[in-house]
Symmetry: C2
Amino acid sequence: MTKKNRSGCPIASGLEIVGDRWTLVILRDLLTGKSKYADFLDSPEKITTNILASRLSLMVENGLVMKRQYQTNPVRHSYHLTPKGADLLPLVQSLTRWSNAHLPHTWTPPAYFMDMTPQQAAEAGAEPPA
Amino acid sequence: MTKKNRSGCPIASGLEIVGDRWTLVILRDLLTGKSKYADFLDSPEKITTNILASRLSLMVENGLVMKRQYQTNPVRHSYHLTPKGADLLPLVQSLTRWSNAHLPHTWTPPAYFMDMTPQQAAEAGAEPPA
DNA sequence: AAAGTCACTTGCATTTTGCAAGCGACTCAC
DNA sequence: GTGAGTCGCTTGCAAAATGCAAGTGACTTT
């Protein structure tokens, strides 16, 4: 969608940022504790490296995710939810509920996931104390 | 994503059905009362006819939407949410809340929309009495 | 009869995703 | 020291999806 057709509708605007499958798959992985590049590659959906790199970059750009250096030789970054990104948790939980109710053969999510609050998700993404 | 990589994860499974922007834009339109083909074409996001036809067909196939004949000469159908489709309302409401909180210049949704329940949405989609 | 409307369908250009290899900066094993 | 392996990307290209605009058939309207 081009910027020319930008809709002020909150749904359409939100979908410009999170309305693609891979962004939400990565969001799930971040919410369940993954943070390093290789972690995301390990997920059962088999995201490809170019899409992963591209989406992570977009998510950083859109303020959903922050990069954090976890080593210096060589420089390596992990990825963590910002509070803005963590606030998407209710959406993901809602999708989870819908799938469990309507789609056969979907796993029951762990209770910790359904009980999590956006604040807890944001704290998990915050910089650990020095 | 090929069926070969089907994940049992409720999030990923749900995203196979609703994890694309156009499906969710159409869902919004259905939730706010649109039902005829031309109604959806009128939305500010300017969906194209081939994508609209294709998505509506998929949504019918996946049980989110039912077609209903509204005239005979020529035969014409309108599209309405099933209870399964209506159960996606909390997801859309959640996205709306997120957008209003985090994205500038998004409209405040009408109260009826945020107060709607999936049951009300399903009733609105149900066959009117003969 | 010609023009207009509607719900799609179609042909093709453009964009996005998927596949698989490549690259540079390291570390590790010999 | 050297070659192999690992990691986090990048790249070239094939396949799939989206976007554009015209087309189609069955009507209604002028």
